[in-house]
Symmetry: C4
Subunit: 215 residues, 4 copies
């Protein structure tokens, strides 16, 4: 009886982690390409600018790109930490879980695109919705990975049902907050961006005096 490819394909958690770190690293660094410096000749200005003019014509116009850059670096940081936490609790992978994470990495690699869209059209609610869809997909795939790993018995033995519940609660809570952020774009896209950045700072810092600390 022939061996099925499915049974041998596989399964190196180390290589999945290495590919993930590589894709996160490239995506995080490609964001900087949005911060492109306009040269003096592109701006039809003399090549020796006063500091005042450099600020007015080159640096200041970059603020939408800088704000979205920070927002997306935080987004990727949040999801990198989330994926790392999940994989850290697993004892191995299989080909199905690897493919779930390849879809996750596809969404990671789309982030520079969504970021550029918001930066170039910062007053457009549609750009915010595209950005939010990207975040929502990241969350959904990470949630699916958690469910699948649970059912397939890929978590380490010491990972209790409470720990797994805490991971899922984390994803659901933050996704609810991101959805609120996206809805705020009806009022103002700046309100959306401010809210999303605040949520991410909360995820990064988790102040201990906070009701959200439980999540």
């Amino acid at each position: 009886m022939p061996v099925r490819y499915r049974e041998i394909a596989g399964g190196s958690l180390e290589r999945l982690a290495a590919l993930s770190d590589g894709i996160f690293a490239v995506a995080m660094t490609l964001l900087v390409l949005g911060l492109s410096v306009k040269t003096a000749s592109e701006l039809h200005l003399p090549s020796t600018l006063s500091s005042r003019k450099l600020w007015d014509h080159v640096l200041w116009p970059l603020w939408p790109h800088l704000v979205t850059y920070l927002m997306s670096f935080l987004t990727l940081g949040v999801f990198w930490a989330g994926q790392q936490t999940q994989l850290h609790h697993m004892r191995g992978t299989n080909r199905d879980l690897s493919w779930i994470h390849l879809v996750f990495l596809l969404c990671v690699s789309l982030m520079p695109f969504s970021t550029m869209l918001v930066a170039d059209y910062i007053t457009s609610p549609l750009a915010i919705v595209v950005y939010w869809l990207n975040i929502a997909l990241l969350g959904a795939v990470l949630f699916a990975s958690q469910r699948y790993a649970g059912r397939a018995g890929l978590f380490k033995d010491e990972v209790t049902a409470e720990v797994r519940m805490a991971m899922r609660r984390r994803i659901v809570t933050y996704q609810a907050l991101y959805a609120v952020g996206a809805l705020l774009s009806v009022v103002s896209t700046y309100a959306s961006i401010g809210f999303i950045v605040a949520v991410q700072l909360n995820a990064a810092i988790t102040p201990r005096i906070w009701p959200l600390d439980r999540f």
Copy 2:
């Protein structure tokens, strides 16, 4: 008697895997550069666009790039999983096998080029043929690696002839399907792309109710 360089050159399977993960990660993320956002000034439009105009002028025209982006991410995912499976069964490498995999990585790094070609000339059968050549080369080199590793005794002891046969059968089956996809470009390039994406989704998901499941 002097030592020959060939005898000492070598041979770290970990570094070969790390270089591979790096090149796959960069190639997968560079694909996103095809999804470049046209700015309002490039489009001779006011910087504050309605959602309707943003969709019509910026997002909708990107669909050939989005489709080819997804196709190529899947292609690279399939070959990453294939290479990982193969290396996972080896107990070491030597300089010849390392060079075979460097040629494999050369083909990986060409993928953003082939993708851009199909996206920019999505109705051209020649673009599909170039894309298919890229996939065919990836398959041929992976097949050569499998044969070489077998002859050079680089597989782990527990890797039976059946397992090795399953790996080879996998490559041959899928390459036959990709060739069918390329041939479909005579009818329509959209048929080609649809077929190739379907083959790759099958490789990723492998539904269990399927005759192809055996491969």
Copy 3:
């Protein structure tokens, strides 16, 4: 009683190091995009240029980009070595330390931007100040990481107070020197760049006949 996400989030020093190496690698290599070769058609010149003309029109005008390229590669090398030394002395990480290092990596990924700014506006003191702010942030975050790791007990047992003091003294000394370099831009931006490169060469080579050797 439910498990708090904070208690399980975490904590893989290997993945933090892998992400760091990836981001440093991409940032160091993206610097080369500043050295873009102008094509003959962009320069309105015949495609077959004499060596003299190639030098005058293509290579020589790149010198501000080459100088800043070398400076930034050294900067990133200095901070890569500094971060590596610090992590090498730790026995693990936690989510707070991981976030401190994500902020550090954010500053790393900004370096190609700061470099391009100095290269395009090499006579502007404001460009030097932005560059210096980038370096100052890298130093401040690395210092914060050192303090936090000390307080949180993340250093290995064999890391004495003297060793930790040596790490902090190193950061403070070099940051003082970088500040001097930034101040020199009042006199001349070339003096700034020369001084910063000299400081970095000193960090790389540390000649043993030097009073600074103690730091």
Copy 4:
């Protein structure tokens, strides 16, 4: 007595290898940016091209970029294998050796620039000379690393003087051949490129019927 920073700085061979793999991976993949696909609108052609026109206007004009792409991928492959072989024989690193390899990686990251220069000015001997300087620097730094590691006792105990001699002979032989390749640019730059590619293919394949096999 205070601890000197030099004594604690350091020394992780794993992280040096990881940074190297990252920089090689990015540099090898960035080469593909030279193969940029001209869009139909850039070429002032209708968006639906015949295969004939696609070949004439888009694919065929890329041949200088394709040839130099292959040459540089081989160059980077040769030096990746060379560095890997060297590090594979070491039992550790220190800060001086790390800095030697950072200079080596600086030369690696310059390779996309040198490649673009040759591709854009393929008939220019000066472009070939710049390319050769890049290769010569790579060889010189790798040689220096070998000498330094020998003097500093960083090689593993089982690495005999003959093995180390074989490594050095390898570098010197190939550098002599590359110099011949550069000199051929006086006759024809195509002869240079053909010769360098032949040398690299020899390094990759090392046919056993060959006098060079001893090196």
